[in-house]
Structures are given as C-alpha cells and as structure tokens.
C-alpha cells in the first residue's frame, strides 16, 4: 500500500491513493480549456475603445433588462421587473459591498445584513417620523452604517479570522433582536408607510410610485455602477494593494510596514456603508419592513454569492449575486425543492470551482505558481502534497 509513496521517498503514513488522486486531479485540470484565462488575456490585449465598448454594451443590456420579453424567459412564474430590484439588484449591491470586506481584505463577515438593516431602519424612521426626503436620508443611512461599522470594527478587527466571523455573526443577531425589542423601530410589527423617493412627474424612469418597479431598478443600477467604479479605483490604488497584502498574509503585510489594522477598518467601514445604501434603497421601495427581513440567512446568502462568483473578482461577484438571487425565483415551480437544490449547487460548485466561477486574477496567478498561501494547516497539508508532486 505504501510502496509507491516510499519510492518517492515519502513518509509511510501518506497513502499512495492520495497522491494518485492528487495527480489525477492535476491532469484533469490541465486538459480543461482555460476559457477565463483566454477571456482575461483578450481583455488585456483589447484596445481601450474596445474595452469601453464592451462596458457600454453591458450597461445597455442592464438598462434593457426589465423588458417583458426577457422577463418571460427569466422569471415566468414571478414578476421579473420587481425581482430585478429585489432580490437581484439589492443582492448585487450587497455582494459588491461584501466583496470589499471578504474578497479584497480577506475578512470573514457573517453579520453583513446588520448594516443593511441599519440603512433600512434609518430610511424608515427618518422617513416616517421626521418626514425627511429620500435623498437626504440616503447619505444619512450611509454615514450611520459606516459609523456602526467603525464601532463594531474598532474593538474587534484585531481578532483573527474565525473569531471575527463569530463576532460579526453576533452583531447581526444583536441588531435584529434590538429592532424586535425596542419601540422606536416598531418592534416585531416593524414600520409601515415608508415614503418613496420624490418623483419628477412625467419622466417615466424618475417617478417613484407603488406599481412600477422599474424606476427603483434604475436607481439601484445607478448605485451599483457608482459602487463598482469606486471599488475598482480602490482595488487598483495603494489601499487595494494593502488589502491584497493583508488577505494573502497578514503577518507579512504588518512586517512590511502596512498598517493592517487601519486598512482592515477601512475595508469594514466601506463595506458597511455600501450595505447601508442598499438598505435605504430597499426600505424606500418596499413600503413596510420588519425585523424578519434581516435574518442571518441573508448574510449567508450574500456571502455565498461572493464566494460562488469568485471572491475578489468584481464581475464574478456580480454574476454570483445575480445567480443566487435569480435561481430561486426562476425555479418557483420547484418550490419545495428550492433550498435543497440551492444547497446541493453550493456543494457541487465549490468542489469543482473552489475559487468561484471566476477566480480573482491575483489569486489565479498564485494558483498557477503552486499555491503559496499557507496560513492554515489545510493549506499546509496541501503544500506537503505539492512538494510530493515535484520530481
């Protein structure tokens, strides 16, 4: 049993079967055509005007998306225009926001929905009780969510990965329980009669009413575009490089003089404010909110979206969020089996594409170089394997 292993000068404990499987996997991988790599190369080689044309095409497609003809294919058992706003649009926005925290800075946040809830309740309380206008509340909600991110992050971001996960998870629970038990949020009944954004009459896509969801979709689309542009700029700036360094190896980053705590806090606050904006928008469309709209499950779904799409890679995250939001609506007919199918999809996807549908480019390059990240024993075990493969 141990013979082939011994031939390679391996310790007897390492089973030969493992090595064989491992090599088999590597071979299979090599045979697959690298579509994404090809696309990435093509993108880099394309002229600047070509890249802009492609971006424009995506935006045009997004603008045309609410059309009935598309809706009949995409969501025959539901209302496509409505689900384009929620869940799809809102999930994409949340996904892009969580990607800053999880994908770029590498922190595991299981309570992201808390900031979404803070934004939503800001809109509800200020809109109903103070009669403020949506456009005034929007920055307010963003700032409030950012401050909560700061308050949560400042004491806890010194904690290592998984401890942060449980602390953020707890924060999400605390926000939901508090919203249920205090009176100014309406308790478990929540708040009803949340005002819509002010309309500009006679301009179809700017009149925010009850019946037509399209203006809200365009609003969330605009916000998504703004957030993506900002996130892209950040990613390519000094901040983005610092995040990448922290994500790959926090200790090394610290040693190289990166103020890791400050940059982690930045990522956390930026992520929180994006969720806050999404919350304000969600609240302004949906008229009534209750604490039940912000369950732990939502945090988990958005996290799945980010990881599924490819943490750290913006287009991947957008696609991931779209898929996670859209699939259950598309398969309404299978109502009883929806969650089961979703669960199985997560397992299968992660086994076959562990770095997401579209892995981030920086990560891809490290993959090719032979998996260098070694923060976890799992990684270390893999490293041992990688060494055993060497002749």
């Amino acid at each position: 049993m141990n013979a082939p292993g011994s031939r390679r000068g391996l310790p007897a404990g390492l089973s030969a079967r493992w090595v064989r499987l491992r090599l088999g996997a590597a071979e299979r991988k090599a045979r697959l055509p690298d579509v994404q790599g090809w696309a990435a190369d093509a993108w880099r080689r394309a002229p600047r005007w070509g890249q802009w044309l492609a971006r424009l095409a995506v935006v045009v497609l997004a603008v045309l998306a609410p059309a009935n003809a598309i809706g009949q294919i995409m969501a025959p058992a539901s209302d496509w225009k409505t689900i384009l706003f929620y869940p799809i649009g809102v999930y994409v926005l949340l996904g892009v926001g969580l990607n800053v925290v999880v994908g770029q800075a590498g922190m595991l946040d299981l309570g992201y929905v808390a900031f979404f809830a803070i934004g939503a309740y800001t809109m509800a309380v200020l809109g109903i009780d103070a009669h403020l206008n949506f456009w005034i509340i929007l920055p307010g909600g963003i700032v409030l969510a950012a401050i909560s991110g700061l308050i949560l992050g400042a004491p806890t971001l010194r904690l290592r990965g998984d401890y942060l996960a449980i602390v953020t998870l707890g924060f999400g629970e605390i926000i939901q329980i508090t919203a249920t038990n205090v009176s100014f949020t309406g308790g478990p009944q929540g708040m009803a009669g949340i005002p819509h954004p002010p309309s500009i009459d006679h301009i179809g896509f700017l009149s925010y009413g009850v019946l037509d969801p399209r203006p809200y979709y365009y609003l969330v689309l605009a916000l998504i575009i703004v957030v993506i542009v900002v996130a892209r700029r950040l990613e390519r700036s000094r901040v983005g490089r610092a995040w990448a360094a922290i994500r790959e190896d926090e200790d090394a980053a610290e040693l190289m003089g990166v103020p890791t705590f400050r940059f982690k806090l930045w990522a956390f606050v930026i992520g929180a404010s994006i969720a806050g904006a999404a919350g304000v928008l969600f609240s302004a469309k949906t008229i009534a909110i209750t604490p039940d709209d912000f369950p732990l499950l939502l945090s988990i779904l958005v996290l799945s979206a980010v990881v599924l799409g490819g943490a750290g890679n913006l287009p991947g995250v957008v696609v991931g969020a779209f898929v996670v939001a859209w699939l259950p609506e598309r398969f309404r007919g299978l109502a009883n089996y929806r969650v089961l199918i979703f669960g199985l999809t997560l397992i299968v996807m992660m086994i076959f594409r562990p770095d997401g549908l579209f892995p981030a480019r920086r990560r891809r390059s490290s993959l090719r170089a032979g998996r260098t990240a070694a923060s976890a024993p799992v990684a270390a075990v893999n490293l041992t394997e990688a060494e055993t493969e060497a002749p």
Binding site: G13, G170, N181, Y337, L340, G343, I347, I351, V378, A380
Partner: protein, 312 residues
C-alpha cells in the same frame, strides 16, 4: 432587576448548567474539527439534528410509549444513545467524504469549505424536512421527571442530573482518548503541525476521519440527551443549538477540548443569568456581548486554542 436576579439565582444556575451540558457536547464537534483543520464545520448542527431523529426512530422501533424505570430505562437509553451516536457519526463521516475531502485536495481556501458546509447544512435540513415534514416531532416520555432535591429555590430533577452527568462522563472519555491513545496522539500532532505530523508517519486522512467521528459521537450523545430532556425535534432544530455550541466553543477557546466544556457551561449560565437580569428577550444579546468582551481580553477564548496543548 437585581431582586429578580437574586430570586432566580439558584433555578438559573441549575437550568444553565443543564442546557450548558448539551452546548458543551455539541461544541466538542466544532472544537475537534477546528483544532485539526482550522475549519468551521458549519454543518455540525445537522450532525446533531440527524442524531435526534435517529434516537427518536429507535424509540418508535422499541415501542416505547410511556416512562420506564430501572434496567428497562437504562437499556432503552443506552440503545437510543448508540443509535444517536451512529446516526451522527455516520452523517459526520459522509459530510467529510462528500463536502470536505474533495476540497482539501483542490484548494487552500477555507472560505470555499465554509460555503460547502453551508450547502451541506441546507441540503441535510431540506432532506429531513421533505421526508419527515416541517412540523415538530415529539418524543414519548422515556424517563420520569422526578424532583430529587432542592438547591435554594432551584429544583434538581432526575433528567437534569442525567444530562449533566452523561455529558461530563462523555467529556472525560473523549479527553482521555485524545490524550492517551495512539490515534489521539495523531490528532494532537496534526492539530499542532500537520506537515511535521505527516513526516512523522501520521496518516492525516485517518486522523481527520477520526476527528469527525469523535465529534459525531459527542453530538449523538447530546442528541439523545436533548431528546429525553426536551422531548422534541424538528428538521431545523440543529441551527440554533449549533450556533450556541459554536459560540461556546469560541468562548472556551476553540480547538481546546476542555475549553468546549468550560465554554458550554459558561454560556448556559450567562444566558440564564442574563435572562433573569434583563428579561428572556435579551438573552442572546447578553451572550454575544459577553463573548465579545471575553475575546477583547483573551483573543483566543478563556483557555486558549491549542488542542495539542490541552494536556500540556
């Protein structure tokens, strides 16, 4: 507020220790897997859930409909516990083989493993919901809940004693296993340094499977105790218990067996004391605030996180 706390001090202590014992047993599964793989086994809650169903079906199969005494009671409890342990351990092994092992060979990303764990958790819940319905399933009463004695105003009942005593016994057995046996040494070695462990001749695959089995066995015992104590189960029963147990594991120091015990009992007590001080609706908030406070002063939990150093 304080008056309420003082009146309820002894009942809260007794009940906090009882529920804490169950948290501690489930926390063991999180802690063992985390110690070896540094992975949050999010689906461990479902390992527990399957255990409750396994012992419920065993009760049905044995035809138990009313409370038993003496040898019959002991026999039925042991058979139920064995069934629960088998159900949970088998689930844990299947999980490891289907959801984690393929990933271990392919990626360094623990995030991916977390997502497969979430996927596995959803799938298991739904399979049980579709097969056995979404309503609660009730256990027949196996054991008479007789009052043994009072501690202050707290009542100590036979079933509470059973829960705490069994949990402690299970803890001692596991601790001895991990610290004394060859396989236990392998587990500790892998937890400390997997690379060196491989070089020293530890079969990592075997160690990992053993870790999942041990966690499953503890969860199975917890499931049987839960069934005899609360007499209900449901497809989603694991979620909240899992969340609490994971919190307990972190509180005590994840990756540390004795930390799981300490964390479980502490969390049970904190919850019940918190509820008597601020009202039951704030129970979870109190628990999480205490957790954050503990982590700020001891960033790796009360006892620290090394599984390998549990005996050092």
């Amino acid at each position: 507020m304080l008056h309420q706390f003082l009146t309820l001090f002894w009942p809260s202590t007794v009940d906090g220790l009882t529920v804490g014992a169950i948290y501690a047993l489930v926390a063991l599964g999180y802690t063992l897997v985390y110690g070896v793989l540094q992975l949050i086994n999010f689906a461990h809650s479902e390992v527990f859930m399957v255990g409750t169903f396994a012992s419920l079906f065993t009760l049905h199969a044995l035809g138990v409909t009313s409370a038993l005494t003496g040898l019959a009671l002991v026999g039925v409890l042991v058979v139920c516990a064995l069934a629960g342990m088998t159900g949970s351990a088998v689930t844990a092994v299947i999980l490891e083989a289907v959801a984690y092992r393929p990933l271990r060979r392919r990626t360094t990303s623990r995030l991916a493993a977390l997502i497969t764990a979430i996927g596995a958790s959803f799938s298991l819940q739904e399979i049980f919901a579709l097969r056995y319905g979404r309503d609660i399933q009730t256990f027949p009463r196996v054991m008479q809940k007789t009052v043994l004695f009072h501690v202050g105003s707290g009542t100590v009942r036979s079933d509470k004693v059973l829960v705490v005593a069994t949990a402690l016994a299970m803890m001692v057995i596991l601790d001895t296993f991990v610290s004394r046996t060859r396989l236990g040494r392998g587990i500790r070695a892998t937890a400390q340094d997997p690379r060196t462990a491989v070089l020293m001749g530890v079969n990592i695959d075997r160690v990992i499977v053993a870790t999942f089995i041990l966690g499953g066995l503890a969860a199975g015992v917890a499931a049987t105790l839960y069934g005899t104590f609360y007499e209900v189960t449901q497809y989603n029963i694991g979620f909240l218990i899992g969340l609490k147990a994971f919190t307990a594991a972190v509180l005590g120091g994840i990756g540390n067996l004795r930390g799981a015990l300490l964390g479980g009992f502490s969390l049970g007590l904190i919850e019940n004391y918190g509820a008597s001080l601020f009202g039951a609706e704030w129970m979870n908030v109190v628990a999480f605030v205490v957790l954050v406070a503990v982590l700020l002063f001891r960033p790796t939990g009360i006892l620290g996180e090394q599984l390998a150093r549990a005996r050092a």
